[in-house]
Subunit: 441 residues, 2 copies
């Protein structure tokens, strides 16, 4: 069915609270791609959608059109079950570096296209590039062969995946139209669908370090993403997880790699390790394994060292120094200056997690603008998760900096990121707030 | 106070339901004028405003910035009280041609800048140009001298009045962001403020032939316009009036002039005459005259023939044929074809008034696009206002057309504009629904 394109009428329908039909929405988005719908018409439509909402059907249609706007990756001739995992972005969130090897060790195939950090959140490619020699610019055939051979690869996208989402995101960024669950879900899921995996597990972050600070909104987003994935025939699940404090104790590229290696080699426990196991187990469940069996296989893959060896194989295949698995703190560049925040006695009641990410970025670990370079060595080690009792001289954060001035600035900033309670016990926030489409154990 | 311009933040504030400060709103609009705020940012802001609303203070600020964006007319050295009257646009609304002469005859000075018709509504300049020889392109000094000498002039704007409103209206028209009381009020009032009169009476039309179809919304718009005018030191009032049927029985340029002359020369009574008296009396009230005194002076100006002589003086001064006052149907061009709609027996229960305007425009009386010419001779005479009892062969509308084909088309279209009731009496709709800032009698 063809629809004569009448952008003002379609905008007015959304403005007045109506859902657009599949044909109407397709006509509008295709018209935008073709230059027949002006930027100012699309931004008005998006604002109407932000305030009036989109239906699940509309989100599914938008995702469709996003995917169809560019290249897609074909993983159909890989022999194992293809799995992808995606985080909506957090602080100290290095899960991919542990989850991908865990899944590969359990027989899944992970051909993960990752991004770079922007603003207060880090990017997986930046982290991996902290490993000397590591290359993220794999050709499609090299990526494909590596995944078939060792079960995993993490690389930059080569083709022009989902260009409509990129163009719309740039428009949304300058027009106050980012906060729409449907637009966020369509953006996330279109990239996952274009990435080609048949099984997709999402880690929807929630808390003051995430884009979603409100738990019900994060759960709605997770459900919408799962609905979109299923509508496109992908086995899709989601965990909604806490981001009210840094997930790993490290925030910064090389520091996060070292902590991920610690988990893979059995030398670090805690929330970061727990979530990696939950995510890997949830993703494996989506391939048709029972929750209990998935948990058991994932724990075995970690305990046996198989996951660590998969990580080493990936580093080797992508030309990084494999010794990073054995001696991460020798292989990874160390920052020249380390200063420590000792905030005094008290119980850690909370972190301004987003601000922690911004401070790490300010030290050089992240980017303010896309064209900035990142520093692999700098960042924060946050030693005191929520609930920790600190004595008068205890360290709360080690700042790894390029200069003493940078370190002093960061220590000063960090004081106001930490909320100390006097005397009373502070409960640890739950790690997994909700599971959608996966059972867990 | 200067505000660093951050459009996405200002858009997000409006999106989230906040009012912008005077400085913020000025910075945004000035930035748009200067090209520092993109079209897509302004349209997103406008959509947020349409859905979240603007405060009266915001509407006042927008009006300020609109006026300051272009030229203004200085009427301060005219000797009488300067009065302007504005209609939000209707069908068969020729009031200016009667009200301006009435006010001039009562000692007020009316330097009216008028517009042309677009869509289903007519424009005063088009109507006056139906008078052979009539010129609307007066220089500012000629307009000024004419008003000082005879009390009235109706002309096209010469300077660049309120260019920001023109630019924003073009944007709103294509982005579904027209329906906002504050934007409409700022648009109307900025033009009145730039026009220079100290006393402003608004005729806010309401009904199926007006832009506002909903009475409470029309009353809100009237109040907002009055608040804006007063905030700028102008004596401002408004009548909210019915536009559920053509106001005058004529719809079309020359036909409307003839009917206006009929009223001025005492040969026509009815709703059109009644509203002209109400508007002129209300406008006179704003100059400090009591409602009773205003009404008495206006009635006297009509009965004495003074108003008709003022109209003749204006036509002469603007080079039109003054005999139009004595023999309008000889001086004005007649359409070559007249056909009549005889809809059968019944009581007239309603008119699709907007559609009537569109049919008249379709005959050539109006424009689809700005660059179209209008035909002075064609249009409709609607003989049967709501409540009229028609016998089987009674005429309801005379169609004045350029060709038989046009006339036949119009008669066909008109059948579906007329709603006939069987048997029961139908009440006449009230003419004035609300008065704001004027007392009336």
């Amino acid at each position: 069915v063809s629809v004569r394109l009448d952008p003002p009428r379609l905008i007015a329908r959304k403005r007045d609270g109506h859902a657009l039909s599949v044909d109407e929405l397709r006509a509008l988005l295709d018209g935008y791609l073709a230059g027949e719908v002006a930027e100012e018409q699309m931004s008005a439509f998006l604002m109407a959608g932000v305030l009036r909402g989109f239906t699940t059907d509309e989100a599914v249609t938008m995702t469709d059109v996003f995917v169809a706007s560019g290249d897609t990756v074909d993983l159909s001739d890989l022999t194992g079950p293809t799995v992808d995992k995606h985080s909506t972005g957090g602080v100290g969130d290095t899960c991919t570096l542990v989850v991908a090897p865990l899944l590969a060790a359990c027989g899944a195939q992970v051909a993960k296209l990752s991004g770079r950090g922007l603003g207060h959140t880090g990017g997986t490619l930046d982290k991996l590039e902290a490993i000397p020699g590591f290359r993220v610019d794999l050709t499609p055939s090299r990526l494909h062969d590596q995944v078939e051979r060792i079960g995993l690869a993490v690389a930059a996208a080569t083709g022009d995946l989902v260009p409509l989402d990129k163009r719309l995101y740039a428009l949304r960024d300058v027009t106050g139209t980012v906060p729409s669950s449907a637009l966020i879900a369509a953006s996330v899921m279109s990239k996952k669908l274009a990435g080609g995996a048949r099984h997709v597990l999402l880690d929807v972050k929630c808390g003051n370090g995430a884009f979603m600070t409100d738990a019900p909104a994060a759960v709605d987003l997770a459900r919408l993403c799962v609905d979109i994935g299923r509508a496109h025939g992908r086995q899709t699940g989601a965990l909604v997880t806490d981001m009210s404090q840094p997930l790993s104790q490290a925030v910064g590229n090389g520091l996060e790699v070292a902590h991920a290696v610690d988990v893979l080699t059995g030398q670090r426990e805690g929330r970061f390790r727990d979530l990696c196991l939950d995510l890997a187990s949830g993703a494996l469940e989506l391939t048709g394994v029972s929750a209990a069996e998935a948990r058991s296989r994932v724990e075995q893959a970690l305990a046996s060292g198989d996951a660590a060896e998969r990580f080493r194989a990936m580093v080797e295949a992508q030309e990084g120094d494999p010794a990073v698995v054995d001696r991460p703190r020798e292989v990874l560049e160390a920052a020249p200056v380390v200063q420590t925040l000792r905030p005094g006695a008290g119980v850690v009641a909370g972190w301004d997690c987003r601000r922690l990410g911004e401070v790490a970025a300010g030290l050089g670990a992240g980017r303010r603008r896309k064209e900035d370079d990142v520093d692999p060595a700098v960042g924060l080690e946050v030693l005191a998760p929520i609930g920790t009792t600190l004595e008068a001289d205890d360290a709360a954060v080690h700042v790894h900096a390029r200069s003493s001035d940078d370190a002093a600035w960061a220590v000063g900033e960090l004081r106001s990121c930490l909320h100390l309670a006097e005397g009373e016990a502070v409960p640890t926030p739950a790690l997994v707030l909700e599971r959608v489409g996966v059972e867990g154990t």
